[in-house]
């Protein structure tokens, strides 16, 4: 028998709903369905073969392929390479409000320190109440220094200051914390672009909330268009999420997710496992 367009449409509609229920953004789910339809329409399959199972297999492979993009990011490889060249690895953290940037920076600083790298943090969120104190207290727990100015200072200046400090002291990594921002605010997006222009980070890291639905796609897309995301970290994965936002984020940026946040403690930073996410999304 052949797979008709009609039967495929019906099967794909169900799968689209399943993907959306798993928090894959609707436009991404629709795009995936279209691609799968193009691949399978008119295809000859065995009399006893179950078309639904065939679509599921194709979908599973497609999702795995998305989560394993060709561009790879190895933080430790980068740190080693830069260390040999005597320069710090500069990482700029950006993202929407409340996604976990500041906490994630502390977690990563903790991880790098455990692996024997020296780290300095930049308190470049000079806007939000308590942002500098929050980073300072986290830094104290990790045992790393914070470069800060005062509230209202130019974030780019704080970031630049931290990079200069790292260069002068031979520090391996500079982790720059920035204010949360909505991607629809031109001024805030311009401010972020300026920070990136001034410090030329080795890595611009997008921090996304695993609980976000369609907006994960919007955020990743706009942040990527603005400053070029090199990789992402998905937080709050411990909150019983299906994890579909991982698909949206990697699909629209073409860049890998390098870590996931699995809680509020310093060691709640784990490696990203595409298989786990795909199984979860399709469960």
């Amino acid at each position: 028998k052949t797979l008709s367009e009609e039967s495929l449409d019906e099967i794909l509609w169900d799968f689209k709903l399943a993907l959306v229920s798993a928090d894959v953004a609707l436009p991404v789910a629709e795009e995936l369905a279209e691609k799968i339809k193009e691949t399978l329409v008119g295809k000859k399959i065995g009399i006893l073969e179950n078309p639904r199972k065939l679509v599921l297999d194709v979908l599973r492979n497609t999702l795995l392929k998305i989560l394993n993009p060709p561009s790879k990011v190895d933080i430790f490889e980068m740190l080693e390479k830069n260390r040999k060249m005597g320069k710090p690895t500069v990482m700029l953290f950006v993202g929407f409000n409340g996604t976990g940037k500041t906490t994630t920076i502390a977690k990563l600083a903790n991880l790098l320190k455990k692996h024997g790298y020296s780290v300095v943090l930049a308190a470049a969120d000079t806007f939000r109440a308590g942002s500098i104190e929050q980073l300072e207290k986290l830094a104290k727990r990790v045992g790393v220094r914070v470069i800060k100015h005062q509230y209202g200072a130019d974030p780019a200046a704080v970031a630049y200051d931290a990079v200069m400090h790292a260069k002068a002291k031979g520090i391996d990594a500079v982790l720059i914390d920035t204010a949360g921002r909505v991607q629809t605010d031109k001024n805030l997006m311009d401010e972020m672009k300026k920070i990136a222009r001034v410090v030329e980070p080795d890595l611009t890291i997008f921090v996304g909330d695993a609980l976000a639905g369609n907006d994960a796609f919007e955020q990743a897309q706009k942040f990527h268009e603005a400053v070029g995301i090199d990789c992402s970290i998905l937080t709050k994965v411990d909150a019983d999420v299906k994890g579909g936002s991982s698909i949206s984020i990697v699909h629209v940026t073409g860049k890998p997710i390098i870590f996931i946040g699995t809680g509020t403690s310093l060691d709640d930073l784990k490696e990203f496992d595409p298989e786990w996410f795909v199984n979860n999304i399709l469960s």
Binding site: R128, V182, G213, K236
Partner: protein, 292 residues
């Protein structure tokens, strides 16, 4: 004021030579797409679209209504039904210290919203106090303290305190003695699978006996909203919902599903990071934005 996507769907429908079964089904599909993209729970989207479809095919055209107007009327009515109760206004009881407790998932905007609510009630002439009962997040007290300073509202907190219940009771008592009308208690972020935190929230509510528990929900939340909200509601009955970050691109469909799941009305929305970026919830403009 009807959302762009909805009026687009209707326009498409009436652009056809016949408002036949196929055209109506496509109209329903367009509505489904708009609601799904707005993060409304999949099951709810299917329910609402079933109801719209049923009425579209079974209802007689009311006198004076065009097919177009009738369809918009049906869709709008069914979407408004999703909204639940109409405008809900938080009532401050006279001659007592009203306690408002904010709860919600990590990063949803509780602390910022606590300050916004304090300002909102302060503008109405009430004597307002803020209590930082978040004993986990580093810098939580400093954050609320700085916000309080911005608006001239006293903040009670103790960064060294380990017991949020004891801290909250102390803070409320202090404000009560000084004749405050409203005390807003900010709590630590938590999600439904952090069992001890959910138990702590339940205990906190039973001890401080709030006049209102407000669930703060991020407008960007996706399909997990309903499940999370239900779990919160089971631990501490939710009085109303505060939807934050609606100044972004998110439509808040998740918060809507949460409201429907808990039966709690939406009382306020957050439309920015500043203390004045708060609005009383207005169902028609929320629907308009949802479908836009």
């Amino acid at each position: 004021k009807l959302g762009y996507a909805l009026s687009n769907a209707v326009g498409k429908l009436l652009g056809r030579p016949l408002a036949d079964e196929r055209a109506i089904k496509e109209f329903i599909r367009d509505i489904q797409r708009a609601l799904l993209q707005a993060d409304v729970k999949v099951e709810q989207v299917l329910e609402v679209s079933k109801r719209i479809e049923k009425r579209a095919f079974s209802e007689k055209l009311p006198p004076g209504f065009s097919r177009r107007e009738h369809l918009i009327k049906i869709a709008y009515e069914e979407l408004t039904q999703l909204m639940g109760k109409k405008s809900y206004r938080l009532r401050i009881k006279p001659n007592k210290t009203n306690v408002i407790m904010l709860v919600g998932i990590q990063g949803s905007g509780k602390t910022t919203s606590a300050a916004k609510l304090a300002r909102y009630f302060q503008k109405k002439g009430y004597k307002v106090g803020l209590v930082c009962a978040d004993t986990y997040r580093l810098g939580a007290y400093e954050q609320l303290l700085q916000l309080g300073k911005q608006i001239g509202v006293n903040v009670y907190g103790d960064p060294s305190a380990k017991d949020p219940v004891d801290l909250a009771l102390k803070g409320i008592e202090k404000f009560r003695k000084e004749g405050y009308d409203v005390v807003i208690v900010d709590t630590a972020g938590r999600h439904k699978d952090e069992e001890s935190l959910m138990r702590e929230m339940k205990e906190l509510a039973s001890k401080i006996k709030p006049d209102e528990v407000i669930l703060v929900i991020d407008a960007t939340i996706g399909q997990q909203a309903e499940k999370q909200a239900k779990a919160f509601h089971e631990s501490t009955p939710i009085g109303s919902i505060f939807v934050t970050k609606l100044d972004g691109s998110a439509k808040g469909g998740g918060a809507l599903s949460a409201a429907a799941a808990t039966g709690a009305p939406i009382s306020f929305i957050g439309v920015g990071e500043k203390v004045d970026d708060i609005e009383e919830f207005d169902p028609p403009s929320f629907i308009g934005r949802l479908m836009g």
